[in-house]
């Protein structure tokens, strides 16, 4: 079966299922970062449901800790944590905290304060040169100076085993990244800082797989993948609307409308 000229990727159904899981987690908690969680979901699906990397040995560092729901949903699906625990998201007696918590099996980095993940990932990549460290950051997070400190560091120490995937959805909590703090030519900046750069569609599984395989083969240059994404991807009326950066209680109408779109 073909859709828009490309065969439907086998990961499509997994991503659809994960979106439903993440949506239910956030809806039942009446709290969560829906927009970004859907923005990064296809990227993380490729990371965890292909054999390009093996996260029993390689490392995945999710710098934006507020996108925890997607990581927890994946860890549930691959059996690192019980799927039955997912509805406890953000509850007081649950380890599935709103922002990532390294006490959760499979979570390597407690996060929440932005801008720290790439430094942590760089240290880890330096200390474990035999394996790959994949960091996921966001474009909004690049406002933080610490990210640029880490970018320089990774170049200096030739961290060819480090990959930084940037979730570029051009949105952050208060509006567009262009309005809040323009990043302008992000790819050119990374290149000038000594990284290799690939720019891809962050919702296209074929492009994601190819880019990750290319990045994995880098030997001395840290690899950046600029993944162009859509905030809230999968629920049409939430897409590119920064008001859905984080959500509280959803009305029954919104809930139903979203579920019917996600179930298609």
């Amino acid at each position: 079966m073909k859709l828009w000229g490309q065969p439907v990727h086998p990961l499509t159904s997994i991503a659809r299922e994960l979106r439903l899981t993440v949506f239910e987690m956030i809806n039942s908690a009446k709290s969560g970062h829906l927009g970004g969680s859907f923005s990064v979901l296809d990227i993380m699906t490729v990371l965890y449901f292909t054999n390009i990397f093996n996260f029993d040995r390689d490392h995945f560092i999710l710098s934006p800790g507020h996108l925890s729901a997607t990581l927890y949903a994946i860890l549930g699906k691959i059996g690192k944590i019980p799927e039955s625990s997912l509805p406890t998201f953000s509850q007081i007696d649950s380890i599935l905290e709103s922002h990532t918590n390294s006490q959760v099996p499979g979570v390597e980095f407690s996060s929440g304060a932005l801008g720290q993940g790439l430094s942590f990932a760089s240290g880890l990549a330096l200390g474990d040169k035999g394996h790959h460290t994949i960091c996921l950051t966001t474009d909004g997070e690049h406002d933080e100076g610490q990210i640029w400190e880490a970018i320089m560091f990774a170049n200096k120490y030739h961290l060819g085993n480090l990959i930084n995937i940037i979730d570029c959805n051009h949105m952050q909590i208060g509006g567009s990244t262009d309005e809040i703090m323009p990043l302008d030519e992000l790819a050119a900046k990374y290149i000038r800082f000594g990284w290799t750069v690939q720019t891809i569609d962050g919702h296209n599984f074929y492009q994601l797989e190819k880019a990750l395989k290319t990045a994995k083969n880098s030997t001395i240059y840290p690899a950046c993948i600029i993944a162009k994404t859509t905030m809230g991807k999968g629920i049409s009326f939430m897409e590119n609307d920064y008001h859905y950066h984080d959500v509280k209680k959803l009305s029954p109408e919104i809930y139903q409308k979203a579920i019917s779109e996600l179930s298609k």
Binding site: S102, E108, F109, S110, S111, G112, A113, G115, Q116, L118, S119, F120, A121, S122, G123, L124, A125, L126, G127, D128, G145, Q146, E149, A150, M152, F153, Y157
Partner: protein, 304 residues
């Protein structure tokens, strides 16, 4: 104290292939030239970027390395507190943060470089343990012990040389304080070289019990309270803001225990430091001198 630490770390690295030093652009000042030359691949230079350095340290520790993050206390934790909190403490990683240039003893470098808030910042972080050696001898003992720790760790050093101030008989133990002089009239608690001013004081009238609280967190509750119970009078001496320091920690212990005692403090009182070519002039100006210690002891003894 700085050279005692640097030399000890150099020696430890011979037997510990996992030992790493993370530097933040101050290699000569933190006396790491020799380490950097000898252990090239284990000396990681981050440049003047304290937040990244704390994150790199955390990542290295995650990969199993024994990491010492070495720079001035005014920059680490002074600048990178949030990275220490999240990347190191929330992830429960054993990075040893070495804060050089603690206190007014930093001298002519002035307010920006005299770190007077490090103990307060570090002891408030969950999982973090906090230490400050008395002199060069204790620095050596402490460094060897902390190198084996599996917890987030902060150690404060001071700038001037502080050779052996006291013939240490015991080894350093985490969570233990050492009684340097025994007495029955006033308990004097403190850490770092400022406490040595209380040793051999010429006060023939009073018998002082001087306790080295170099393990600030965990604190040696038992030794401290036992002494205060005996003397009924407590003076805490520290080259740090009074807010959040050892004085507040001890005051909390006393209040929780229900012990009745007379209590006072020596420390910096809600002020910034300033330059002085002789750091001891700062002790006189800010009320941290030997004379001030004697005045406080007399004050405690005058209270019924």
């Amino acid at each position: 104290m700085r050279s005692a630490f640097a030399d000890t770390l150099f020696d430890l690295a011979k037997d510990d292939p996992n030992l790493y030093v993370v530097s933040v652009g101050l290699r000569p000042s933190v006396l790491m030239d020799k380490f950097a030359q000898h252990y090239k691949t284990h000396f990681i230079e981050c440049g003047v970027a304290e937040n990244n350095a704390a994150g790199i340290s955390a990542g290295l520790a995650k990969s199993g390395k024994n990491v010492f993050l070495c720079t001035y206390a005014c920059f680490s934790p002074g600048i990178n507190l949030a990275t220490i909190k999240q990347s190191i403490c929330e992830n429960n990683l054993s990075v040893k943060i070495i804060g050089y240039h603690g206190g007014l003893l930093t001298g002519e470098l002035g307010a920006s470089h005299q770190m007077l808030e490090d103990i307060a910042l570090m002891r408030s972080l969950p999982t973090m343990e906090v230490f400050a050696p008395l002199d060069a001898i204790e620095t050596v003992k402490m460094t060897k012990v902390l190198a084996k720790s599996s917890k987030p760790t902060y150690m404060r050093l001071v700038r001037p040389d502080s050779p052996e101030a006291y013939p240490h008989k015991k080894g350093f133990t985490i969570g233990k304080s050492e009684i340097l002089e025994s007495g029955s009239d006033v308990t004097i608690l403190g850490y770092g070289p400022i406490l040595t001013q209380a040793l051999n004081l010429e006060i023939s009238n009073w018998k002082l019990e001087i306790i080295n609280c170099s393990s600030i967190k965990p604190i040696d509750e038992k030794t401290i309270l036992k002494s205060i119970k005996k003397t009924g009078r407590c003076l805490v001496v520290e080259d740090h803001q009074m807010a959040g320091g050892l004085g507040e920690a001890v005051a909390t212990l006393i209040l929780k225990s229900g012990l009745k005692c007379k209590f006072t403090q020596i420390g910096v009182d809600n002020q910034f430091g300033r330059s002085s070519l002789d750091p001891l002039d700062l002790y006189r100006l800010y009320g941290l001198s030997t004379t001030d210690i004697i005045t406080k002891i007399n004050y405690l003894m005058s209270k019924k």
